[in-house]
C-alpha cells in the first residue's frame, strides 16, 4: 500500500519513512504543504499522513482542498497540537483520524491498518480470498494451512490483490500502490506477479491470479465480493 507522508521535520519524516517501509508500505515524503498538494493530485495514494503545521499550505487547508477536489483518500493527521478544539478542527476539515505527537509507532501502524480496513469494506483485520489469508498486522500470509514465504514486494502485491478481489488491476496501478517513485520497465511487475503466482500454487493448488489480456491482472475468488 502506498502512502504520502507530509511532515516538515526532516529527521522525523525520514525515520517514519524508514519504519513504514520496514512494514511493507511504499512511502513518499513531502516536506511542505505545497509539494504535498502537488503529489496528492498526481499519485493515487492509499493513505495520506498529514502534519498540521507545515510551511506553504498548512495541514488543515490541505485536507480541505483534498476533499473539495473530490479525493476520498483516507487522511491521518499527525500533530503536536492536542487540544480538543484542534482535534475537532482537524477531523472536521475532512481527516479520518488524528494522532498527537509524541505517539507510539505501533499505534501509528495500527491506525493506518484501520484506515485501510475501512476502505476495503471488510472490517476483518485479516484479508481473505478463498483459502488465501493475509494478516497485515503480523505480516504473515497463508494458503490453506501452508504459510507463504513472501518478499516485501510480493506481500504488498498480494495485499493489493486481496483488497481489490475480483477487480482488474493494471500494471501501472500495481506499480503505483506497491512502489514509491516507480520508474522501472513494466515487465518488473510481471516478474513479481509470476513469482507470487508460483509461491501461491507451489503445493499444486489452483491459480487464483489471472492475466487479463491487454489490461493487467485479476484475483478471482468466489467468496470475495
Amino acid at each position: 500500500m502506498r502512502m504520502l507522508l507530509v511532515e516538515d521535520e526532516q529527521r522525523l519524516a525520514s525515520l517514519l519513512q524508514q519504519g513504514l517501509i520496514d512494514h511493507g508500505y511504499a512511502v513518499d515524503v513531502a516536506h511542505d504543504g505545497t509539494s504535498g498538494w502537488e503529489r496528492i493530485q498526481v499519485e493515487p495514494y492509499d493513505v495520506v499522513i498529514l502534519d498540521i503545521m507545515l510551511p506553504g499550505i498548512d495541514g488543515i487547508t490541505l485536507c480541505r482542498k483534498l476533499r473539495a477536489a473530490g479525493l476520498n483518500t483516507p487522511v491521518l493527521m499527525l500533530t503536536a497540537r492536542d487540544r480538543v478544539r484542534d482535534r475537532v478542527l482537524g477531523l472536521d476539515s475532512g481527516a479520518d483520524d488524528y494522532l498527537t505527537k509524541p505517539f507510539a509507532f505501533p499505534e501509528l501502524l495500527a491506525r493506518i491498518r484501520a484506515l485501510l480496513r475501512r476502505e476495503s469494506g471488510s472490517r476483518d483485520p485479516v484479508l481473505r480470498a478463498g483459502d488465501v489469508e493475509l494478516d497485515p498486522q503480523a505480516r504473515t500470509a497463508r494458503r490453506g494451512t501452508r504459510s507463504l514465504e513472501l518478499t516485501s514486494k510480493e506481500f504488498g502485491i498480494l495485499e493489493l490483490f486481496l483488497r481489490n478481489a475480483n477487480r482488474v488491476l493494471t500494471r501501472s496501478q500495481i506499480a503505483e500502490h506497491v512502489w514509491s517513485d516507480f520508474a522501472a520497465e513494466s515487465n518488473v511487475i510481471d516478474v513479481y506477479v509470476s513469482a507470487l503466482r508460483r509461491k501461491l500454487s507451489e503445493a499444486g493448488e489452483p491459480n487464483i491470479i489471472h492475466t487479463v489480456r491487454g489490461i493487467g491482472y485479476q484475483l478471482r475468488s468466489r467468496d470475495s465480493p
Binding site: E9, L12, L15, T100
Partner: protein, 332 residues
C-alpha cells in the same frame, strides 16, 4: 455568647461600623461642650440681668427716698418696684430700720456696718427653705451723706427653674441626637460603601481560570469609580500575564513534542528491528537527546527572561557570524 462577642468584634472591624463610631464620637465631642457652654452662658446672662434689675430697683428706691423722705417714704418708694422685690433699710450701725411689707420677708444676711464709702455688694443667698435669692447691699446716701445701707433682694426661683429645665432638655436632647445620628451614620456609611460591597461580590465570584470578567464601573466620577477602574486595569494586566504564561506553556509543550516524537519513533523502530540495529539507533538517539537538552536549557533561559531575571551580560558580537550560525542551525 462567645460567638455573639466574636460577631461584635468582627463587625467592629468593618469600615461601616468604624465610620459610624468616629462620627458619633466627633458629634459627642462637639455636642457636650456646646451644651455645657450654652448652659453656662445662659446662667451668666440670667445673673447679670437679675443684678441689673436689682441695681435699677436700688437706684429707684434711693432716688425716691432722696426726693421725698419722712414717714411712709419707703412704702412709696417700693410701690414702683416689681412684685416680689424685697427692700430692707439699715442705719449706719447696721441695724435694721425698716423693711418693705409687700411680701413675706426672707431671712437675708445681716450686712456689716458701713464705714467710709463702701461699694455695692451682690450676693447669692441660699435660704433654709431651699429658696435662692439674689441680694444687693448698697450704701444709702441721703442728700450727700451716708445714712445707712439699702438691701434689695429678689427670688431667683423662676430663673433657676428655667435653667433646670434647660439642663434637663439638654440632658435628654444630646443622647437622643447621638442615637439618631449613629443610626443615620450606619445608614449613610452603608449607602456610601454599597458599591464597594458590590465590587467585593463580583471579585469573589471570579475564578482564576477566567479573568475576562470586569467590575461594573459606576457612572459617577468619584472614588469608587477610580477604585473600579484601577481594579479593572489590574485585572487586565493579570489576564494578559496569564495569557502569556499559557501561551508560553503551550509553545514549550509544542517545541518539546517534535524531538520527543523523533526519540520515541527511534526507540519503537529499534525495538522492532532487534539488537543488530541497536548501535546506530542509540547513536542517533544520543544526538536527539543532546538536541532536547539544548532546547530545555533554552526554554529555561526564556522562562527566566519572562520573569525578569537578569540573563547574562551584554557584549559586542559579529552579526555576520550570528547569521551564519543561525542558518547552519536551521539547515541541520
Amino acid at each position: 455568647m462567645i460567638t455573639l462577642l466574636r460577631r461584635v468584634v468582627s463587625s467592629l472591624q468593618t469600615i461601616r461600623v468604624r465610620l459610624t463610631l468616629w462620627y458619633v464620637a466627633l458629634l459627642t465631642i462637639v455636642l457636650i461642650p456646646f451644651s455645657a457652654g450654652l448652659y453656662i452662658v445662659l446662667q451668666h446672662e440670667v445673673t447679670t440681668s437679675n443684678d441689673a434689675a436689682l441695681h435699677f430697683s436700688a437706684q429707684h428706691v434711693i432716688d425716691s427716698l432722696n426726693s421725698n423722705g419722712g414717714a411712709g417714704a419707703l412704702g412709696r418708694a417700693v410701690a414702683g418696684l416689681p412684685i416680689g422685690t424685697v427692700v430692707v433699710l439699715y442705719n449706719r450701725f447696721g441695724e435694721r430700720i425698716e423693711a418693705s411689707t409687700r411680701s413675706t420677708l426672707p431671712q437675708l444676711p445681716v450686712p456689716q456696718p458701713p464705714n467710709g464709702s463702701p461699694a455695692p455688694i451682690y450676693q447669692t443667698v441660699h435660704l433654709s427653705n431651699g429658696d435662692q435669692w439674689r441680694v444687693l447691699t448698697t450704701p444709702l446716701f441721703l442728700n450727700g451723706t451716708l445714712a445707712g445701707l439699702l438691701q434689695v433682694a429678689e427670688s431667683e426661683a423662676q430663673s433657676q427653674s428655667a435653667l433646670r429645665e434647660l439642663a434637663l432638655l439638654l440632658a435628654i436632647a444630646v443622647p437622643v441626637t447621638l442615637i439618631i445620628a449613629s443610626a443615620g451614620g450606619v445608614f449613610l456609611a452603608g449607602r456610601a460603601l454599597r458599591p464597594i460591597s458590590k465590587m467585593t461580590q463580583t471579585v469573589r465570584t471570579m475564578r482564576p481560570q477566567d479573568l475576562s470578567q470586569r467590575i461594573p464601573v459606576p457612572a459617577t466620577a468619584d472614588e469608587v469609580h477610580q477604585l473600579a477602574e484601577t481594579f479593572n486595569a489590574l485585572l487586565q494586566r493579570l489576564e494578559q500575564s496569564f495569557e502569556r504564561e499559557r501561551q508560553f506553556t503551550a509553545d514549550v509543550s509544542h517545541e518539546l513534542r517534535t524531538p520527543l516524537s523523533i526519540l520515541r519513533t527511534q526507540v519503537d523502530l529499534a525495538l522492532e528491528r532487534g539488537p543488530s540495529d541497536a548501535g546506530a539507533a542509540l547513536e542517533a538517539m544520543r544526538t536527539d537527546i543532546e538536541h532536547l537538552q539544548r532546547l530545555v536549557s533554552d526554554l529555561l533561559l526564556l522562562a527566566r527572561a519572562e520573569h525578569g531575571e537578569a540573563i547574562g551580560q551584554h557584549e559586542p558580537l559579529r552579526l555576520d557570524n550570528l547569521i551564519t550560525d543561525t542558518v547552519e542551525l536551521v539547515r541541520d
